[in-house]
């Protein structure tokens, strides 16, 4: 993976890496990608993907209201809040 490609992924996952980290990631990503080529040697023709190892029929609980976490408790972990809401910088000029 070249540095330009790392830069494009950084924008996608909301990162802005210092150059030294970008170089380390490009090296590691290239090593990983080289190893991924081994996957093509496994014949998966006609095989369904495995999404969960559990063979469960997920059942929903009864639709009865239960006491959950209060608004105050949730907001207490927020870096900034206002009038009972999370606060973020202005997004519309």
């Amino acid at each position: 993976m070249d540095l330009q490609t790392v830069l494009e992924y950084e924008a996608m996952v909301k990162l802005d890496l210092p150059e030294s980290e970008r170089i380390w990631i490009a090296e590691k990503a290239s090593m990983l990608e080289d190893s991924f080529s081994e996957l093509s040697k496994v014949d998966t023709e006609g095989i369904e993907p495995l999404i969960s190892v559990l063979d469960l029929n997920y059942t929903l609980r009864e639709d009865i209201p239960i006491k959950s976490i209060s608004r105050e408790e949730i907001l207490s972990n927020s870096p900034e809040q206002c009038d009972g809401y999370f606060q973020v910088p202005k997004t519309i000029e």
Binding site: M1, V6, Y9, E10, M12, V13, K14, L15, D16, L17, E21, W24, I25, K28, A29, M31, L32, E33, S35, F36, E38, L39, S40, K41, V42, T44, I47, E48, P49, L50, I51, S52, V53, L54, L56, Y58, R61, I69, E73, I74, S76, N77, S78, P79, E80, F86, V88, P89, K90, T91
Partner: protein
Amino acid sequence: MKKEFFITRYDVKAENSFALDDNIMVKDGLTTGGSKMLHNFVSPLQATVVEKLLDAGMELAGKTKLDEFTAPGIAAETCDILSGAVGAVSEGACKIALCNDVSGKIRRQAPENGLYYIHPTYGTVSRFGLIPTVSSMDQIGIVCKNIDDGFNALGIITGHDEKDVTTFPQKSYAYTPKEGGFKIGIPSNVMELTDEKGRKAIYNFTGKYDTEETELKYFEVFAQVMYILSSAEIGNNTSRYDGVKFGYRTENYTGLNDLYTKTRTEGFGLDMKLLSIMGAHVLSRQNYEAYYLKSMKIRRLIKEHAIDLFSRYDAIALPLKLNDPDPYKNSALYAFATLCGLPSVSVPLGSDGGIQLISQVKNENSLFGICKGGR
């Protein structure tokens, strides 16, 4: 200088106490996930495993240090740091420690430090209150010095939890050592890749059992499948860390996008950044089929192979290390149990180091029996 394995420590007697890795929540307590991103996060809820252990009369000894979100890192310096859970039990600060070992680091380090690690069947232990890392593989396990203590604790924390839809419907599990008649499979293709010490540990331990050489199919792609699926799931699970709802927020920013970007750049460690980028890479339109979908298909092949193996063997024995010290390649040794949701026990063997024993879903009692010396 004495090493400190705890992030938070309480003044309780060690003999009936448990420690938690700091990604398992205790209501109103700090839960950092080992990350700057959650350095100030106060848990609004209590993990089910904590509630069950406290109800059973055990005391909380503290929260132990962990790699950031226990993610499967490949930076060598991270892989060499002793896990807080292993250190805490090893120094006698608590009877057991609970943690989520996705990467295999704790399954390797526990026996190297004279301890067992019990990795239970996926779906038997509630993960309510565990900070998610790799949701399809996360499973709370137990570090213990004494195997009876470990399985006693497992009996307490297992069972259906209506707060965790991925738990089996079974209300409780009884763990008693199966008496004997064990047949153990030894994968020769893995033994070829381990060193003399690893081979000696396996053959010394299994010498008294009915054993057979076998093959662990797809082993050559275990590390790849693990990393691809892990990075995809970690990328999703860590998208919530944005500096808005909880946790760390950067001090200087000029708008919302800048807030997100600076917060995540300053808050995550290097391995998490690599995993996030690899997650985006394997899920991208050009790579989705070749990497992500392919890995999910191979995961099914591995699971089907596991069913076949355990129709012939009570357990498969694997070494703790490969000849090659590369942590990425070594992750293959721990991927079998993690990818298939299988129970495993890492067994300490003194100067021989240790081995891991893996069995079929819900067959912990065979592993318990083998650990107790049953033949």
